[in-house]
C-alpha cells in the first residue's frame, strides 16, 4: 500500500490504539519485574483471563461493557494475589531458570484450562452501540472503539503517572526498584509492596486483555503469542521504568502497525527487528539501569 497522508494518519491512529493495549498490559509486568526481578511468563495468561472474563460477563451474564471492565480488573487482580502469595512468593530467591519454568508451567495450565472450557477457536465480543461505528473527526472518520481505547489509555497513563510520581506509595515503589535492600532497611515493606503492585499489574493486564478482544481477537494461545510482545515492551523500555514502558509501547505499537499496513507479507517482522535493534544497542532498555 502506498504511503499517503491518509494512510499515515491511519497508521498513527491504529498504532496509538495498539500501543495503549501494549502499555496497559505491560506496565504491571515491568514494575513487578523491576521490583523483584521475577521473570513472569504467566503475565500473558492474566491478560487472556481478562479477555475471557469480559466474554462471560458481557455475553452470558448480560452485564454492561464498562462495568464488566471494572469487574474484570478487580477479579483477576484479586485472584492473581492468591497466586502471588502461594506460588510466586517461593520464587523471590529462586534462580532465573526456576522463575521461567514455574511461570511457563502456569501459563500452559491456564491455556489448557481455557481451551477446555471455551474451546480453541477465536472469540469475538459484542460491543455496546455507543462504542461501535465511526466518529467524525472533521476531515475524516475514526473508528469509535479505537478512540475509546486511546482515551482509556490516556486516562490510565495520567492516573498511573500521578500514583507513580506524586504519591507516597509511588515513591516507595520507585525507591524499591532503585535499590531494594536500601528501601527495606529504611523500613519499606517491599514484600507487601510487591503483592500490591502484582495485584494491580495483573488486574491491568486483564483490563488490557479485555479491551483487546475487539482489537486483536481472543483465543487461548493469546497467552503465549502476545506474551512475547509484552516481554519485548518491558525489555525495550527498561525494567521498572514507567516512562520506558510507555515509550517502548508507542514505538513498538506504531511500527508494528506501520509494518502491517505497508508490507502485509512481512507482517510480524518489524516489531521483532526493531526491538532487537534497540536491545542490541541498549541491553538494559531505553530507561533501564545496567
Amino acid at each position: 500500500m502506498a504511503l499517503n497522508l491518509n494512510t499515515f494518519i491511519s497508521i498513527l491512529f491504529d498504532g496509538l490504539a495498539y500501543a495503549m493495549f501494549l502499555f496497559i498490559v505491560s506496565v504491571g509486568l515491568s514494575v513487578t519485574m523491576g521490583l523483584m526481578g521475577i521473570v513472569n511468563l504467566a503475565h500473558g495468561a492474566f491478560a487472556m483471563a481478562g479477555g475471557y472474563m469480559m466474554l462471560t460477563l458481557t455475553r452470558s451474564w448480560g452485564i454492561g461493557f464498562l462495568p464488566s471492565l471494572a469487574i474484570t480488573f478487580l477479579m483477576v487482580g484479586a485472584v492473581s494475589v492468591i497466586f502471588e502469595r502461594t506460588l510466586y512468593v517461593r520464587l523471590y530467591r529462586a534462580t532465573e531458570l526456576d522463575q521461567v519454568l514455574l511461570t511457563i508451567g502456569l501459563a500452559f495450565m491456564a491455556i489448557a484450562a481455557y481451551t477446555y472450557f471455551y474451546g480453541p477457536s477465536q472469540q469475538s465480543i459484542r460491543l455496546p452501540s455507543y462504542l461501535t461505528g465511526q466518529i467524525d473527526g472533521g476531515f475524516r472518520t475514526f473508528p469509535t472503539y479505537r478512540v475509546f481505547m486511546i482515551a482509556i489509555g490516556a486516562i490510565l497513563i495520567a492516573v498511573l503517572w500521578y500514583v507513580f510520581e506524586r504519591t507516597n506509595i509511588g515513591a516507595k515503589i520507585r525507591a524499591a526498584v532503585d535499590n531494594r535492600r536500601m528501601a527495606q532497611s529504611i523500613g519499606i515493606d517491599v514484600d507487601r509492596l510487591f503483592t500490591l503492585t502484582f495485584g494491580i499489574g495483573s488486574g491491568l493486564a486483564a483490563l488490557g486483555g479485555g479491551l483487546a478482544v475487539q482489537l486483536v481477537g481472543l483465543s487461548p494461545s493469546f497467552a503465549v503469542i502476545y506474551l512475547v510482545f509484552f516481554l519485548l515492551v518491558v525489555a525495550v523500555g527498561g525494567l521498572g521504568s514507567f516512562k520506558g514502558t510507555l515509550l517502548a509501547a508507542l514505538i513498538l505499537g506504531i511500527f508494528d502497525t506501520a509494518g502491517k499496513y505497508l508490507y502485509a507479507d512481512a507482517g510480524g517482522f518489524f516489531i521483532y527487528a526493531i526491538a532487537m535493534a534497540i536491545l542490541l544497542v541498549r541491553p538494559a532498555g531505553l530507561y533501564g539501569r545496567e
Partner: protein
C-alpha cells in the same frame, strides 16, 4: 601428594580422568534402548521420536545444564536443521541422509555462532527476549518465503535416499530407529567428552560464578560462544533427524512450545547430568503419547503441572529426587 601439589596440571588431569571413568550404570539406557527395539517392534515410530527428542534435550543440557545459559530459543536450531534437510531434498533433489546431517549441523552451527557472538553478551530478561525473538524471526522469514518453505502447510515430497545406499526405510521404522540410536550414541560420546574436559569444567565455573571466572582470566565469552555453537549444531542434527525420519516439516518446528517442551524434558530428568535428557525424554514422550490421546488440553495441562511440581518439589529432576530418596533410605538403618 607433594609431587602432585607441585604440578597442578597433573593433578587437574588426574581429577578429570577420574570423573571421566565410565560407570557400569551408564550402559543401562543403551541396553534399554536396544531391548526396546526387540520388545516393541511395532512401536518404533514412537521410539524414533523419543530418540530425536533425547538428542535435542542433550543439546540443551550442554548450554543450560553445564554453561548455565537460560535460553528460550533452542527450537531455532532444531528448525534450521529440519529445514536444511527438507529444502535440500525438495529444492535441490539431494536426499543422502548422513551428509544431510552434516549440512544441517553446519547451517545450525553457523547461525548459532553468529547469534551467539551477539546475544551471549546479554543476560537475564534481555537474553530471554532476544533468543525468543530470534526464533520467531526465523519463523517469520520462513513464512515470508512461503513458495520455498511451504509455510505452515509444510513442504510436500521430502524423499530421503537409503541409508549408506543399502538400508531402505520400512513401514515400521526399524531402520530409522537404529539410525537415530547410532547418531545419538556418537553425539552423546562427543558431549560426554566435552563436559568432562577442562573446557567442560570451565563452563561449570561460568555457570556457578561468572565473576570469578572473569577474575581468573578465563575467556568467558569465547567459551560461551563455542559451546553455544556446538549445542546449535547438535540441535540442528536432531532437527535433521526429525525431518528425515518423518519425511515432513512445517514452520511449526520453530514454535515456542518446542523450546519450552525441550526445556521441560531436561528439567524433568535433571539438568547438568547428561542422562537427564534420556529419562526426561522417555517420560515426556510417554506422557504426551497417552495424554494427548485423551485430549490435547490434558497434555498441555500435564506439562504445565509437571513444570510447576518440578520447580516446587524436585528441583534437581527425577535423578535428583532418586538420589535424595536413596540417601534417606541408606541413612535409616543406622
Amino acid at each position: 601428594m607433594a609431587s602432585t601439589a607441585a604440578d597442578p596440571h597433573a593433578r587437574a588431569r588426574a581429577y578429570l580422568a577420574t570423573r571421566h571413568h565410565w560407570h557400569w550404570a551408564e550402559a543401562l539406557p543403551w541396553l534399554i534402548a536396544i531391548a526396546a527395539f526387540f520388545a516393541f517392534p511395532d512401536r518404533m515410530t514412537f521410539g524414533t521420536q523419543v530418540l530425536v527428542m533425547v538428542l535435542f534435550a542433550l543439546s540443551l543440557d550442554l548450554i543450560l545444564g553445564y554453561a548455565g545459559i537460560v535460553t528460550l530459543g533452542q527450537a531455532a536450531f532444531f528448525g534450521l536443521g529440519a529445514y536444511t534437510v527438507g529444502l535440500l531434498s525438495v529444492r535441490a533433489g539431494y536426499g543422502e541422509p548422513i551428509t544431510g546431517l552434516f549440512a544441517a549441523a553446519a547451517v545450525a552451527a553457523a547461525v548459532g555462532f553468529l547469534t551467539g557472538l551477539v546475544l551471549l553478551r546479554y543476560r537475564g530478561l534481555t537474553l530471554l527476549v532476544l533468543t525468543l525473538s530470534t526464533t520467531i524471526l526465523l519463523q517469520e522469514v520462513g513464512n515470508l518465503f512461503k513458495d520455498i518453505t511451504g509455510g505452515y502447510d509444510g513442504i510436500p515430497g521430502i524423499t530421503i535416499w537409503p541409508l549408506l545406499g543399502l538400508f531402505d526405510y520400512d513401514l515400521y521404522n526399524h531402520t530409522n530407529y537404529t539410525y537415530c540410536l547410532v547418531v545419538l550414541a556418537v553425539l552423546f560420546y562427543v558431549v560426554r567428552r566435552i563436559v568432562y574436559s577442562s573446557f567442560g569444567e570451565a563452563l561449570a565455573g561460568i555457570r556457578e560464578n561468572v565473576n570469578r571466572m572473569h577474575a581468573v582470566g578465563s575467556p568467558v565469552r569465547w567459551r560461551l560462544v563455542i559451546v553455544y555453537t556446538i549445542s546449535a549444531a547438535i540441535a540442528g542434527v536432531s532437527g535433521a533427524l526429525f525431518t528425515q525420519t518423518s519425511a515432513y516439516v512445517t514452520l511449526g518446528v520453530f514454535d515456542f512450545d518446542r523450546s519450552a517442551g525441550v526445556m521441560t524434558i531436561l528439567i524433568l530428568g535433571g539438568t547438568g547430568r547428561l542422562y537427564g535428557a534420556f529419562a526426561g525424554g522417555v517420560i515426556y514422550m510417554l506422557l504426551e503419547d497417552s495424554l494427548s490421546k485423551l485430549s490435547p488440553e490434558f497434555w498441555q495441562f500435564g506439562i504445565g503441572l509437571v513444570l510447576v511440581l518440578v520447580v516446587l518439589f524436585a528441583r534437581r529432576g527425577l535423578f535428583g529426587l532418586a538420589q535424595d530418596l536413596g540417601d534417606r533410605l541408606r541413612r535409616k538403618p543406622a
